[in-house]
Amino acid sequence: MVATKRLRSGILLLASAATMAFVATFAVLTLVNSGSGPAPERQLDGAAPARTTDGQIKQLQAQVREAPKQAGLWAELGETYLQKVRETGDASFYTRADGVLQRALALEPQGLEGLVGAGTLALARHDFSGGLRYGLAAHRVAPRLARPLGVIVDAQVELGRYGDAARTLQRMVDLQPDLASYARISYFRELHGDLGGALYAMRLAVSAGGGAPENVAYVQTLLGNLLFERGSLRAARAAYEQAIARFPNYVPAGAGLAKVDAADGRFESAIRRLRDAVARLPLPEYVVALGETEQAAGRATDARRDLALVGAEEKLLRASGVNTDVDLALFEANHGSPARAVTLARRAWAQAPSVRSADALGWALTRSGQPAAGLRWAKRALRLGSVDPTFLYHAGMTAQAAGRTSLARAWLRKSVANNPRFSPLYAPRAQAALR
């Protein structure tokens, strides 16, 4: 009897020892774990905010896993994924953004963040009517908030509803005068030919700052584009360089510097920069710029070789069910099949009846031998009073082909008035046509 009692107390002793060992082991495991493993993320959960987009993504991914019922967190993660695409062009984040935003809307169909995120994604995919629907829905949820208005403005501008866009934009900037609203005002003024006003608004956007470094680098690049269009090459270069200082390896700014280099006659440097841009982010826009710069530099073989890439990209886009892009229509008109350009541009106009689509359709018609029809569309492209040198060059060449010589000279002169070297390929052609 005594023996069993002792035995029992012995087991009790052992059990408590086991418990202590257990606790000690657990403590050490936890310590070692937090020391070696995902320590940086864990710190992010604390007071210090995540600075980089990657940091924010990690933090939000962890938060969503912890609280999977919170629609707001899903939506915020979706918007951060979209920011990641803006920074890197990594298309796999589009898929992720789509997934998490749908989850956000499933959890809360009238959630503001989810609606704004879904609208932004729709716009990025050139689904402008879809973007407008989401933007309006978000606006109904929060009528006093500026962010939904930004989605609405972008959609209205792309859909050619410039009067509506002006009213929305005014309300947006009244509610919140910041980088987002100033940048949109600048683009709106540029479309209407008010370069000075556009520059002023874009400078306001840059100085308003805020947001991710990429956002500021982006408006600095847009400022560079405006300065380039006005012919202030040195100021444009400075703006692009500031963008790169803000966000290293920023591809749009690198492409801007290439434009300035080409205008300065430094083709080799321009080609090098564009090669780099295309390697990182092969948007048709940059590939076309590379090919045209090579063409201007007399490297026809390289140009053909590189421009063929746009054809391959077109194939990929078609394979994924996307057929409309103004950039592709212009590429076909200039370097490929004008007939195909007309088809592409008509489809672009049907989905987004903007001045950009009108310009592309007009130029495609002219290149396919219908300058009279082209002229009608060229006038439509210029109806807001745009001084975009490419629009004016297209219109001038169209008028010339249609036999409207004086109109042609007026438009061509205007195309090279601000920046006589607006394009390495087309500025010399405009100059030649004027002689």
């Binding site: 023996a3 002792r6 052992l14 495991l29 390896n249």
Partner: protein, 447 residues
């Protein structure tokens, strides 16, 4: 600043809208994977490249062997191996290039390139993959077990992409961007301790430890918890039957001391507790000493301690039996086991015996604990070890009970007193013999 301010002006739409059929990481991604395994005399690497449609198209004019030569040159330029703090040149094996079909009728580029380096006594190995900087895509370094080594790796042990053929589409994790692996190496038997990859196994062990495999499945979310617990229990129960878990000893002891059912139960409980403590303690020591010593190197010492403990118990039981025999000469022996209270197993010996059975933790259990640590599944791992120990103890207790009742049965059969009296002595001799064998086995391992 919580949200990025959105500036969506035209021309910002990116090339690839996400649709089915597109390259999952975008059709201009450049994806690469480095697999590393460290053996005692060499380091083997395998570099795999999956290049999407657009960069492949840009190389369309080059002959295939020249494309391969470009990739080999990039790997030669930017894939670095450092062993014991010194850069070691890598020898490239025969590279393989293929062109699997991609989207829109365009091909992809796939390159597989084996690399190796002869090394001497590797202790720390570092791999830096700086190929294709600034390109979007999946970048990973994965560790695999080698030969004659025990490796601890910062890189995960599993590759969820099946060699860059399928990419995880989890919307709550980003594509991997891992370009570095650090490995700590000691001589061993081809084991690897590494963090768990997304959807990959926890721990790879060439000796094929079933329990660790079960754990990896659970960690990966496969199988119900209940099933896992049952498996752990069954595994422990079966494991107790494998050599070296003291079941013979327990039986012999209970026979020798004429233990009761209570003693058998107490013994089982002790084994559970000591085994659990043993695993935790060893895990603790392994963690604290991880910088200097590997758990594998602790086993021989634990074996020795266990063996000496058994030897001591055997000797003391033998002594007390012999003494009892001397004292009991000339008495009537037919029912002695009911009247020898002072000869029944004492608390101390029960504890010591249970401890020696449980002290040497099964390597499986330790692997589970370390795997739990590596994959941040600590509560699950600890729970499983407890269940495992319970299974172990259940078998031993059942064995003990069997022995106890068999003994009573034999007593009822009235076997001649001489033989019954001899049994305890023989069984204590058995314990001593087991202790000697265990010691003899443990000592050479220390070398």
């Amino acid at each position: 600043m919580k949200r990025a301010i959105l500036v969506v002006v035209v021309a910002l739409a990116l090339l690839v809208p996400a649709t089915a059929g597109a390259h999952p990481l975008g059709n201009f991604s450049v994806n690469h994977l480095v697999t590393v395994s460290v053996s005692s005399d060499r380091v083997d690497l395998r570099y795999t490249l999956d290049q999407a449609e657009i960069p492949t198209f840009q190389e369309r004019d080059l002959p295939r062997n020249q494309v391969l030569a470009h990739k080999q040159a990039e790997v030669k330029r930017a894939l670095h191996l450092t062993v014991n703090g010194h850069a070691v040149p890598l020898v490239q094996g025969l590279g393989k290039l293929s062109a699997p079909p991609g989207q829109g009728g365009l091909p992809l580029t796939r390159v597989e390139l084996p690399l190796s380096a002869a090394v001497h006594n590797p202790r720390s190995v570092r791999v830096d993959d700086e190929t294709f900087p600034d390109r979007v895509g999946w970048k990973a370094v994965v560790a695999e077990p080698g030969k004659g080594t025990a490796v601890r790796s910062t890189a995960p042990s599993g590759d969820p992409t099946d060699g860059l053929r399928h990419y995880p589409q989890d919307m709550l994790s980003s594509p991997l961007a891992e370009r570095t692996a650090k490995l700590t190496v000691t001589p061993g038997t081809g084991t690897l301790t590494a963090p768990r990859a997304v959807g990959g196994p926890t721990t790879t062990d060439r000796s094929g430890d079933g329990f660790a495999g079960v754990f990896a499945d659970a960690a990966a979310g496969k199988g119900a918890l209940l099933l896992l617990i049952l498996t752990a229990f069954a595994w422990g129960a079966v494991h107790a039957l494998s050599p070296g878990h003291g079941k013979t000893m327990v039986a012999a002891y209970l026979v020798g001391t004429r233990g009761t059912a209570k003693h058998a139960l107490g013994l089982g409980a002790t084994v559970t507790i000591t085994h659990t403590i043993g695993v935790f303690a060893l895990g603790l020591v392994a963690l604290l000493l991880a910088q200097f010593i590997l758990p594998e190197q602790l086993y021989p010492w634990l074996s020795l301690v266990s063996a000496l403990l058994v030897l001591g118990i055997g000797a003391s039981v033998l002594r007390s039996r012999l003494r009892a025999r001397k004292r009991g000469h000339g008495h009537q022996h037919h029912q002695h086991h009911h009247h020898h209270e002072h000869e029944a197993p004492s608390k101390k010996t029960i504890l010591a015996l249970g401890a020696s059975a449980g002290l040497l933790p099964c390597p499986s259990a330790l692997v589970v604990l370390l795997a739990a640590l590596a994959s941040h599944q600590i509560p699950l791992g600890i729970g499983l070890i407890l269940v495992f120990s319970l299974g172990l103890a259940a078998t031993l207790t059942c064995l003990g009970l069997l022995v106890v009742y068999a003994q009573r049965l034999s007593a009822r059969l009235r076997v001649p007193g001489r033989i019954t009296a001899l049994v305890p002595v023989l069984s204590s001799l058995g314990i001593v013999a087991i202790g000697v064998v265990m010691t003899a086995k443990a000592v050479p391992q220390l070398a």
